[in-house]
C-alpha cells in the first residue's frame, strides 16, 4: 500500500501511516453516528472527517483521515464494509488521488505586519474574507502540504484562530468510486 507521506515527517518504523479513506454511504439518519461510533468503539483514530451529499442525493461521501499500520487499516476497511449503510470503501492512499482542504485563519495584522500578511496570502492564492483593524481572516485552499506551509509562515506573525475542514479527495482518472 503506497503511503501518503508528509514532507519533513518520517513515518514510524512500525509501519504506521496516515491514510485517506473515502466511504460512500446511504444518505440516511444515523449513518454518520454509526461510522464515527465504529471508529471509537474499536479504538481507531479519526484525525479528520468530512461528509456531504454527492451527485446522487441518496448517497453521501465521507472522507476520513485515520492512522495505523497495515493491519489496523485492513480492519478499519473491513469493519466499515460490514455496516449495512456503507456501500463502498476505498483507501485512496493506495492509489493516485487528488486532495484538497479548506482552511480559514484569523491572523493578527497590526499595522507593521499588514503588508506582509497580504503578500503571503497572494503567494498562496488565498482570499482575505474579513478585515478588521488588527486582524485578517484568510481563506486558503490546497493540499496538506500547502495548508501546513501557510500556517508555518503566519505563525510567527500571530495566529488567533484556525478552522479546517479536513481533506476531501477523489481518485485520479476516469473511474468513479460507485
Amino acid at each position: 500500500m503506497r503511503a501518503r507521506e508528509a514532507p519533513g515527517q518520517s513515518n514510524d518504523d512500525k509501519g504506521v501511516r496516515q491514510h485517506i479513506i473515502s466511504v460512500l454511504v446511504e444518505n440516511r439518519v444515523g449513518v454518520l453516528a454509526r461510522v464515527a461510533g465504529l471508529f471509537t468503539g474499536r479504538g481507531f483514530n479519526i484525525e479528520s472527517l468530512a461528509v456531504a451529499e454527492t451527485e446522487d442525493p441518496t448517497l453521501s461521501r465521507m472522507t476520513i483521515v485515520t492512522g495505523g499500520d497495515a493491519r489496523i487499516i485492513e480492519q478499519v476497511t473491513k469493519q466499515l464494509n460490514k455496516l449495512i449503510d456503507v456501500i463502498k470503501v476505498v483507501d485512496l492512499s493506495g492509489e493516485h488521488f487528488v486532495e484538497r482542504e479548506l482552511m480559514l485563519v484569523k491572523v493578527r495584522a497590526e499595522p507593521e505586519q499588514r503588508a506582509e500578511v497580504l503578500r503571503i496570502t497572494d503567494i498562496f492564492r488565498g482570499n482575505i474574507i474579513d478585515v478588521s483593524p488588527k486582524a485578517y481572516v484568510i481563506e486558503v485552499t490546497g493540499d496538506a502540504d500547502k495548508i501546513r506551509a501557510f500556517i508555518d509562515l503566519v505563525k510567527p506573525i500571530g495566529v488567533l484562530e484556525i478552522v479546517r475542514t479536513g481533506p476531501v479527495a477523489l481518485s485520479r482518472g476516469n473511474k468513479a468510486i460507485s
Binding site: G30, L38, E74, Q75, K78, I84
Partner: protein
Amino acid sequence: MKKCGAEIFVECLLKEGVDAIFGHPGGVVLKIYDVLLDAPFRHFLMRHEQSAVHAADGYARATGKPGVCLATSGPGATNCVTGLVTANMDSIPILVFTGQVPTTVIGNDAFQEADIFGITMPCVKHSYVVRRVEELARTIKEAFYIAQSGKPGPVLVDIPKDVSQAETEFTYPREVKLRGYAPTYAGHSGQIRRAAKALALAKRPVLYVGGGTVSSNASPELLELAELTHIPVTTTLLGLGSFPERHELSMGMLGMHGTYWANMSMCEGDLIFAVGARFDDRVTGRLDAFASQAETIIHIDIDPSSIGKNVRTDIPIVGDVKTVLRALIDELKSLKKDWQGDHHEWLQMIAAWAVQHPLKYQQGEEAVKGQYVIETISKLAPDDAIITTGVGQHQMWAAQFYKFRHPRSFLTSGGLGTMGYCLPASIGAQVAFPNRMVIGVDGDGSFQMTSHELATAVQYQLPLKIVILNNYYLGMVKQWQELFYNKRYSHSYLGTIPDYVKLAEAYGATGFRATKPHEVLPTLQRAFQTPGPVVAEVVIDSEEKVYPMVPAGAALREMVLA
C-alpha cells in the same frame, strides 16, 4: 386496504413465518398489544425484558429461525441491552422490536423515552427507527433479511407510538434491495483448491470448528470431511454439538478450559483449519505463542473482518461454511488421494496425550462434584435433549463432561458470558420444541439473576428441567481469587439463600434437592420424569476447580492441570 402500524406489524411477522414472540407490554406499545391479542401466533409474557431477548435468542439457537421479542420504550428498551449484546457477540439472528414515544416528542426527554437506537448502535448488526408508517413494512422485511443472512445478528426496530397508530395502505414488499450489503456465500474456487492441496500434504492437521458451522447447518459436511481425511476435530464452546463427541476423531473443546489433547494438537499441529471460528482470546491464549508449529492456517468465515484479525491466515476463504465445505469435499475427492491410514501417527500422538492427562475428578462419598452431576445428566438425557447453561464453573463443566451429539443442542452465552442466560433461554428452546427435553444447567449465582422467569415457565406450563449446581459461591470468581488473589474471597460468597426448593414451589414449580453423591442419580431421574417445570438443586463441593486452565496472559500450551 388501509391498516394501522400495529396491524402491519402483526401482518409482517406472519408473512415472515413467526409462530412465537416473547415480550412485555407498556404504554407506547398498547396499540400493538391490542392487535396482538387476536394474532394467530403465540406471545409469551416474560417478567423482564432481558429475559424476553434471551428467550428469543434461545429460540433462534435451537431452531435456526430468527427469534422475535417485543418491549416498550424507556426502561423496557434499556432492559433489552444485555440480551442484545449477548446475541450480537454470538451472532444469533433475533429481531428486537421496541416501542418509542411519539415522533412529535422524540428528543424532548418525554416520559419513558430512551434513545435506544443510539444506545445499541455498537451492539447490533443493524437498527432502525421507523419515522413514518409508510416505511414500516419495508423496514420489517429488511430487518428479517439482515438478521438471518450473511453472518447472522440482532436487528433492533424502534417503533414510535404514533407510527403504530397511523394508517396506510399495506403492501408487503416482494424483495429487499440493500446496496451496501451483499454477503459472500460461495468461496473462491482458487482458494478452495489451494486449501485442498494443503490438506492433502499436511502431516499433523487439526480441524478447529466454531459456531459458524452450527449457524450454517454444516454438520453433515463437517462429518463427511473429517471422515474422508481422518483429520481430528476440536470445537469451540459455541461449536459444541456440530461434531458428535463420541466419534473417534472428536477431541472435545479447546481453549482456556479445553481438553489437554485438543490444546496440544493446536500447539503441535502443522496445519490449522478454522471452520466458522474466529480465533477468540479464550481459544488462542497468548497470541505470540499461538499455533507456533503451524505452517499453514486455513480459515473459512462468512465475515471477512474475522479473517486475519487476530492471527495471520495463509489461505483465507470468505464464504458460507456449508457451501464452502461442499466444494472443498468435491475438490478433495478429485485429488484421488488415498486417505486410508493417513495421519495415523498424529492420531496416536493425540490419543497418548488424552491418556496422559484426561479430564478427571474424584467423586467420593461425602461431597458431590459438579462434574459428576454433568456426567449423570449426560447419561440420563434423551438423545435429542437441549442443554442450556448460565456462566461460570457449571458452564465449563457442562461443556467438558456432557457428550454432545447434535448441533443446536447446546445453548450457552459464549462471547459475552451472560449470567442469567439459562432459564430464559430454556424457555425459548422449550417453546420452540415442546416435545423435547430441555435441561438448564445453572449455577446458584447465575440462576438468581433471572430466577423470576420461573413464573413464566409455570404460567405456560413449560416442562423445562433446571438443575442448579449450588456451591454457595460465585464459583468461577472464587477459583480465580483462589489461584491469583491469594484466596482473598472478595464478595464471592452467596451463602445458602434462597432455599431453591421453596423458591420453586413459591412459583408453582416442583423442587428437588440432592446433597449427597448417592442421591444425585435418583433425584435427577425423578426430576426428569416429573411433568411441568422442575428445579433440582444439587449441593456441590465449592473447593472443586475447572481444569485444565490456561491462565490469562499465558500461552495455550501453559495449561494448569489438576
